[in-house]
């Protein structure tokens, strides 16, 4: 579980990016941070792996304050996926995926075997192992990005608009496969998007942020759609019309595909 406790980020010029955020991200589930640009969702995400340090408050992972660990050590235990994948152009696909295992000093053979396994897992042909990122399509690169984040099997993953740079059809299939994969690996995921449809589709829980870094509502998708907070949240969801559409889509999703795996609270205990 990741816990934000009274976290504030204020920049030297006085801008408040995140304002007194208190929030829990349950283990083994996807928590989506959604909101318009400038709402502090990405800043909040980047504070979890200390890419940005908060001005006030504490963040803890499984009860341990993240400041207690060396930043690089902390980051090697947290998967990270970003919008344009951010793959290393000078490394082959297999070596991109094996990045964190290499950093952790794994044996090269083991690291590569793991990387190959992950390629299959995220739906990439292992024939691509020796290619370079520029030889792959945007969607394929994004899969490599996900595989790279999973390589050292970190319990926590941070995903910053990972699917927003690809076209809608590819995005849809990436989202579906991501849900399937998550049902197997059950990572604790913080997922940032500006797309409310994506939030409703992927999130077990949704945190709606409002400009100025204020958490407007934190709820399950169903709660959010049946009982949105007045004002900003309702407006962000597109008013009555938008809500109708989102509820309709959600019902469609529920009938078309198996529902998202329900995660019991004791999953973590069971895994240990």
């Amino acid at each position: 579980m990741i816990r934000f406790d009274g976290v504030t980020k204020r920049y030297p010029d006085g801008t408040v990016a995140v304002d007194d955020l208190t929030l829990e991200i349950p283990s083994g589930q996807i928590t989506v941070f959604v909101g318009p640009s400038g709402c502090g969702k990405t800043t909040s995400l980047r504070m979890i792996n200390r890419m940005i340090e908060p001005t006030a408050g504490t963040i803890s992972i499984d009860g341990e304050d993240i400041r207690k660990k060396d930043a690089s050590d902390l980051r090697r235990g947290i998967g990270y996926v970003i919008q344009h994948a951010g793959l290393f152009p000078h490394r082959t696909i297999i070596d991109n995926i094996a990045t964190v295992p290499y950093l952790l000093g794994w044996d090269k053979k083991k690291a590569r075997a793991t990387a190959l396994e992950l390629m299959e897992r995220v739906g990439l042909d292992t024939k691509m192992a020796k290619r370079y990122p520029f030889q792959l399509s945007g969607g394929q690169q994004q899969r490599v990005g996900v595989a790279r984040a999973l390589a050292a099997d970190p319990p926590v993953m941070l995903m910053d608009e990972p699917f927003s740079a690809v076209d809608p059809i590819v995005r849809n299939s990436l989202q579906d496969e991501f849900l399937r994969l998550q049902s197997e690996v059950r990572k604790t995921i913080a997922f940032v998007t500006h797309d409310i449809d994506e939030a409703v589709k992927l999130g077990h829980r949704i945190a709606v942020f409002q400009v100025g870094g204020v958490l407007a509502q934190h709820a399950t998708p169903d709660e959010l759609l049946t009982n949105p907070a007045e004002g900003f949240v309702t407006e962000f969801l597109g008013g009555e019309k938008g809500l109708k559409r989102l509820r309709f889509n959600r019902e469609l999703d529920a009938t078309e595909e198996p529902a998202q795996p329900e995660i019991e609270d004791d999953v973590e205990a069971a895994e240990r």
């Binding site: 050590d73 980051r75 970003i82 290393f88 000078h90 964190v100 950093l103």
Partner: protein
């Protein structure tokens, strides 16, 4: 060969080339040494300097300014500046009278290329590296510098060709590699050595450029198609 100069002397005496092949080889190799060691030394200086200029932005304008001032000094003047320290003539310590000024010249091309190369690393790549747990030094060595290699080599190519042509000026202080043949030919009103040295210098430039291009292809197979795609 039937091309004749005005006085009936042929423009090129082919047998002269055969007769002097040993001397030509020595001069060519020496020319190469005088021209390319400065590029090597230049890289050794420019890479750390460029890294510092990227890390501390304020350092870049004055550094570039100084490098450009060196480049603005006529090469002969700069050579003469070093004569008191390394002497005059060819070979041994005196070679540094040529090599060090050319090293300084190369910096005005190499430093900006190192800086541009490091700045060409896409921001998402830098961020991803940090987020995966690369420390600053490891990120520099394993991610940023390798990605900067194509731009750095592009700079080395320009610097190498300029250096190869500038070495000839050194003949005025008695150490100009193939430029020596210039003076020989000119003083004896004999065109063959002049033409031969010109051709050899051009061949050297093309050859060095080819070696660097090949090195770049081998070192950075990942950059090949990406560049042509834009």
């Amino acid at each position: 060969m039937s091309v004749l100069a005005a006085d009936g002397e042929p423009l090129i005496r082919w047998n002269w080339i055969g007769d002097h092949s040993d001397e030509l080889t020595t001069l060519t190799l020496h020319h190469l040494k005088l021209a390319l060691l400065p590029i090597l030394f230049g890289l050794i200086v420019a890479i750390p300097l460029g890294i510092m200029c990227v890390r501390w932005r304020w350092l870049y304008p004055p550094t570039l300014g100084v490098a450009n001032v060196f480049y603005g000094i006529p090469s002969l003047a700069l050579f003469m500046l070093f004569i008191p320290y390394f002497g005059i003539g060819s070979g041994g310590q005196a070679d540094f009278t040529i090599i060090l000024p050319l090293t300084l010249f190369s910096l005005s091309v190499l430093v900006p290329n190192v800086v541009d190369g490091l700045r060409s690393v896409p921001e998402p790549v830098r961020q991803a590296a940090t987020a995966m747990g690369f420390g600053t030094l490891r990120r520099l060595v394993q991610v940023e510098l390798p990605i900067a290699v194509p731009v750095i080599i592009a700079g080395a190519r320009v610097a190498a060709v300029a250096s190869i042509s500038l070495v000839s000026v050194g003949v005025l202080i008695g150490n100009g590699g193939l430029g020596q043949l210039f003076i020989d030919g000119y003083s004896r009103d004999f065109t063959t050595p002049i033409i031969v040295s010109c051709v050899l210098i051009i061949v050297l430039a093309l050859f060095s450029d080819g070696v660097l291009v090949t090195a770049q292809r081998l070192l950075t197979p990942w950059a090949r198609t990406r560049r042509s795609n834009g």
